[in-house]
């Protein structure tokens, strides 16, 4: 610890900052780190209300005029502050959720309220930059796709890092721990059509999370230069079914120009194949509802990028969402503003889509028919919504979701899956 660290610990910057420093030191002990390092930014997930404990914590943290020490973005909160009328839950929770979001803003964090801070050009850390991010999908994206370095900072520790500007030098902050130890390849029976399909990525993510757990894997054999939106879907699902904080995809992620690169030129512990049967089983497990009945379609988990919003508008092609179906797309307020400038928001709203910002449709009670069946293209949404909001889920590709939303019933296209 530096003399500055000791000063913070002793309360030189107030009781709240000293509390934060105690948590950072506790984390250092738990991870076996010998020293702390500086960070250049933080993404804080603690602003989502999970009960009175989350308010009690920020009250204690704010004691003594605590402020964040590095540029800090905020994750989703409990409700859409720009469209509060979309909230269908109880008033008291909404009030507490809003209060918590404002308390974090008051610490000096930027009110981005998005789970995809990497979509904001001025909030993206560069390759090799040391940061402290919360939110499991953002952590996976930050390490894997940006090549910036963060551990899985959970609630409390994310903001403790933001107000101290310090983290333990451990885990994925260190080069040697970013090495893949597991090589995953798609088996020969996985059809080319599926390999080229967006729908592969959330499903492959679910399998990746199960296979890798908390270890770092490299996925080999996909076409090069996969889009950020596909890698987002992959990482979000992997961080739901497992504790994946980092993965490599050869030819697509910056620390994996080749398998050897991802392995840091050492032998892997295991090389495993993923069969079409395993992918189909993972896909099927994501659906808890059967049949054609459809109440709602939920897209944008993690928050839709500008490219995705545009794609939804193009896929709708002037058609309207069916009167009996609610179609809710979640995105960040900054992405929404950019989409509005380009006329995309208007096109989506004219088609009958509702746009939700600052939160997510499986976090906040926003769906009219929350018990479903709700169709989604997100592995993460499908994974968490049954437990969180009690929704029956139908998982499908983005194209299936849009076609179903227009038709008013579940419409399937099994072609990429080899017909089953």
């Amino acid at each position: 610890m530096s003399s500055r660290d000791r000063e913070l610990l002793a309360g030189g910057d107030g009781a709240g900052t000293a509390f934060a420093m105690r948590l950072v030191v506790r984390a250092a002990r738990a991870t076996g780190a010998t020293h702390l390092i500086d960070i250049t930014g933080a993404h804080v997930d603690s602003c989502l209300y999970h009960g009175k404990a989350t308010l009690d914590f920020v009250d204690r943290l704010a004691d003594g005029g605590t402020r964040v020490r590095v540029p800090t973005t905020l994750n989703v909160g409990a409700l859409d502050l720009m469209h509060p009328e979309l909230y269908r839950g109880d008033r008291r929770t909404a009030t507490a959720g809003r209060k918590l979001m404002n308390r974090y803003r008051a610490l000096g964090a930027r009110p981005t309220y998005t789970c995809a801070p990497y979509q904001l050009a001025d909030a993206r850390p560069a390759l090799g930059e040391q940061v402290a991010w919360g939110e499991s999908n953002a952590i996976a994206f930050c390490n894997s796709v940006l090549g910036a370095r963060t551990n899985r900072y959970g609630d409390f520790l994310d903001v403790a890092a933001a107000v101290t500007g310090r983290v333990p030098d451990a885990g994925l902050h260190r080069t040697e721990n970013r090495r893949a130890t597991l090589v995953l390849r798609l088996a020969d029976d996985v059809p080319t059509a599926l390999r080229d399909s967006d729908v592969l990525f959330p499903v492959l993510g679910i399998v990746l999370g199960r296979r890798a757990g908390s270890s770092v894997a490299v996925i080999d054999g996909l076409a090069r230069d996969q889009s950020e939106d596909r890698l987002k879907a992959l990482g979000a699902a992997a961080a739901s079914s497992g504790a994946v904080a980092m993965f490599h995809v050869t030819g697509s992620t910056p620390e994996a120009a080749s398998v050897d690169d991802a392995l840091q030129r050492r032998p892997p512990l295991a090389v495993e194949l993923i069969s079409l049967a395993e992918l189909r089983a993972a896909r099927d497990e994501l659906s808890t509802a059967v049949g054609e009945r459809l109440a709602a379609v939920a897209l944008g988990t993690p928050h839709a990028s500008l490219a995705e919003l545009e794609r939804y508008a193009v896929m709708l092609g002037g058609r309207r969402i069916h009167d009996d179906v609610e179609c809710l797309i979640s995105t960040g307020r900054d992405v929404l503003a950019a989409a509005s400038e380009r006329g995309i928001t208007e096109r989506l709203r004219e088609a009958g889509v509702e746009l939700l910002v600052d939160t997510c449709s499986y976090v906040a009670p926003t769906l009219r028919a929350s018990s479903g069946p709700v169709m989604t293209d997100s592995g993460k949404w499908a994974y968490y919504a049954p437990g969180n909001i009690g929704a029956a889920v139908v998982f499908g590709s983005t194209a299936e979701c849009i076609r179903s939303a227009v038709a008013g019933r579940v419409v399937r296209d099994q072609a990429p899956w080899g017909g089953a």
Partner: protein, 143 residues
């Protein structure tokens, strides 16, 4: 902060698969609510919960702190690998409410000996032993 000064006891609950507390545990009831989990519906409150590893959401620290506040938290966690998210959730809960939920890593060899459904005592320094009495499930003793 007073970490590590008391022992806790509770009956062991071995989870067959990892669990994310966020989306996986309801702090209002202390039950396991992840429908993908084989032990969906199990009561976690007051138990010494063994997890092969933790997983999933970074919000689990908040869920643990809220469960401690609500009195529905497990008595302790035993893990086969360290998990910073549960560790910090536990640290914050202790600072805010003065209640300690130990989070300890135990070796697979040790796990196979003690994880047979018995009552366990987690000592102040993390030593895991069979509790002397089977009647005080979830109670919190002193050293």
């Amino acid at each position: 902060m007073g970490w590590g000064v008391t022992a806790v006891t509770g009956r062991v609950l071995v989870l067959d698969e990892p669990l994310s507390l966020w989306g996986g545990m309801d702090p209002a009831t202390g039950r396991l609510i992840d429908p993908h989990h084989p032990q969906h519906g199990a009561l976690l409150a007051g138990r010494v919960v063994f997890m092969p590893s933790a997983k999933g959401s970074s919000s689990s620290a908040s869920v643990l702190a809220e469960a401690v506040r609500a009195g529905t938290a497990p008595a302790a966690f035993l893990l086969s690998e360290p998990d910073l998210i549960l560790e910090i959730g536990s640290a914050v809960a202790e600072e805010l409410y003065g209640i300690r939920v130990p989070v300890h890593v135990i070796s697979p060899q040790r796990a196979s000996v003690i994880l047979d459904g018995s009552e366990l005592r987690i000592g102040p320094r993390g030593g895991v032993t069979r509790a002397p009495r089977a009647s005080d499930t979830g109670s919190r003793g002193t050293p």
